[in-house]
């Protein structure tokens, strides 16, 4: 068993808004080990971005409330002071964001921005930091790095900009890298390159990776373990094989079923889970997926605990159905997914 880098226990994040208290993340627990890539999947509003941003301390604000712990190298990120967090951010845990053109400063040269990251934590000269930045740019596959370090973000293509962000994030060899939908804003061919880049670099340094995405194709490509989030809660957790081949939660079935398949008859309409995610200000009683679940029954009024139902202790889910029932219910015409007629 690999060394555990990050341990999150019962994380809760809520925001006070005009309409009431918005519970963005409720009772999320998971771990990230050395060399492991954990993918967090879910719809928009499921709480996946808030979860990872909270790990970086970027959700702290006067109207935010936190509970639970997130231990990284012995320090609890949730309750750490601002000063302590500033020392950790970028050095032990780093993040790359979704849209690199807006995530990079438009008025600073690219090499200087990477050097800024280095100099934020190490006392070296600007020239030395710039040299390291150029070397990093070369390592992430930016050609002609020394000349290009003097360019500005708007002079790069999307894929190159994301490589810059990766270089910046990995510059101090953090223990954990968080990637928040880094390929969503890129086209598919570049996406593949960037994923390769991330995979290669993190393998070299055994970095733990948290990869937030809504794209199951990406998950299948890079994840070792998968966390499925819905309405601020973890609803299923397991290895990538377990999630794709033996999913236990009806929401996961819905996600898998909504991916268009080239090997089957094309449906008349694209399959989708009917309904919409619940309001996080007034979350429903019991299982959050119940209003949209085609297999809901009376027990679902009570919130199921996240627990393993199968002998395999690493595969957890939040559903009252027994594994035998699930096996029957999840197959629709030979594939895992939404029930007939659930596609609207």
């Amino acid at each position: 068993m690999s060394e555990q880098l990050l341990e999150i226990e019962d994380l809760e994040v809520s925001f006070a808004t005009e309409d009431g208290v918005l519970r963005a993340v409720s009772g999320v627990s998971f771990t990230v080990s050395r060399g492991e890539t954990v993918a967090i999947v879910g719809e928009s509003g499921s709480g996946k971005s808030v979860t990872v941003m909270t790990l970086m301390g970027l959700t702290r604000s006067p109207n935010a409330r936190f509970a639970g712990t997130a231990r990284l190298n012995g320090v609890d990120l949730i309750s750490a002071s601002e000063d302590k967090l500033e020392a950790i951010r970028g050095k032990e845990i780093a993040m790359i964001f979704q849209d690199p053109i807006s995530a990079l400063s438009p008025v600073h040269r690219v090499g200087a921005q990477i050097a800024e990251q280095i100099r934020a934590h190490e006392k070296i000269s600007k020239a030395a930091a710039l040299d390291r930045a150029i070397e990093l740019m070369g390592r992430v596959g930016i050609p002609n790095a020394r000349a290009r370090a003097r360019s500005y973000p708007h002079e790069f293509s999307g894929g190159m900009r994301q490589r810059v962000m990766i270089a910046m994030a990995l510059s101090l060899s953090p223990s954990v890298l968080i990637a928040d939908e880094p390929t969503t804003a890129l086209d598919v061919t570049i996406q593949a390159q960037i994923l390769d880049e991330i995979r290669q670099l993190t393998a070299e340094s055994d970095t733990g990776v948290i990869f937030v995405t809504h794209d199951l194709g990406v998950v299948a490509d890079i994840a070792d373990r998968v966390l499925v989030m819905y309405a601020g809660r973890l609803v299923e957790q397991g290895t990538v094989d377990e999630i794709f081949y033996d999913p236990q939660h009806p929401y996961t079935w819905g996600l898998l079923g909504s991916v268009p398949r080239v090997d089957l008859e094309p449906p008349r309409r694209l399959p989708a889970i009917p309904g919409a995610p619940p309001s996080l200000v007034r979350p429903p009683e019991g299982c959050p997926f119940q209003p949209r679940c085609p297999h809901a029954f009376d027990r679902c009024r009570e919130l199921p605990p996240l627990a393993p139902r199968l002998p395999d202790a690493g595969h957890l889910d939040r559903c009252w159905l027994t594994p035998d029932d699930k096996r029957v219910l999840r197959e629709t015409g030979g594939r895992i997914g939404l029930t007939e007629g659930a596609a609207s």
């Binding site: 970086m56 500033e86 020392a87 951010r89 970028g90 807006s102 800024e116 990251q117 934020a120 500005y152």
Partner: protein, 316 residues
Amino acid sequence: MTGFITRRLASAVLLLFATSVVVFGIFEVIPSYNPARAIAGRAATAATVAEISQKFGFDKPVWIQYGNTMKLIFTGQIIDYQDNLNVVSQFVHRFSVTLSLVVPAAIIWMAVAILLGSISALRAGGWLDRGLMVAAITGVSIPVFLLAAALLYLFAFRLPWFPNTGYTPFGTDPAQWAYHLVLPWLSIAVLSIGFYSRVLRSNALDVINQDFVRTARAKGLTERQVFTRHVLRNALMPIVTLFGLDFATLLGGAALVTETVFNLPGIGQYEATAIGQLDVPPIMVGAMFTAFFVVLFSALSDVVYALLDPRIRITG
């Protein structure tokens, strides 16, 4: 770059020309305008007025009068009607006074506005922010003549902390020079501090929510580094343009109320008197003088903006 300079020079010439025509034209339209009578004075006879009219060429057609005036301006021979002084030389001599007034005031107001605007942005929504913004709106709303008179009354008369009025050149006595200018500097600064701090606050709040600021925090930079290197840097850019225009008009004499109240012999005071007496030559030279600075500073602020924002490049 040469293309830029050429185009700006061409537009400068056009603007100066247009300004001169418009100002000249205004006086042709004013019904009570009779410069010959004004020069002749109260007790003049019709014959004197006619004689003056002929001497100054007021009986000639409008465009000839315009031509003559412009010729006199550019040969530096134009004289004002009221005191018979050479207008151009007056401007030259009085410019140092206006500079003494405007440049330190600008430094003061920009420094204070950036400080207050930053504090407001960082403490947005709090009591300090609200208090500063109320003060800013008050500063913007107070008419300059009221503020100048009030400062003079309170701090020169009631509390004899500052001298009454008047100007001491820097060369004569630097300490006295500054001493006489403190209240005038405040008169100009208060209004501008109010305005610029609000603009900076608004810009900073826009920038602070942008993604790259979040990235800067994610890098582990301190809050102060995030604010100065990323937020302020971007928030100040539009202010450069605003400041350029503001400063240009002030150099041209826009601080005329302050100069008049504090009896500073600057360009503004000269222009104010001329306007009151409908004395065309100083008004025309003043208008063109201001127009010249406006063009110069608007070109300069474009260049500075391009230096600050690499996404913008001056096209040649």
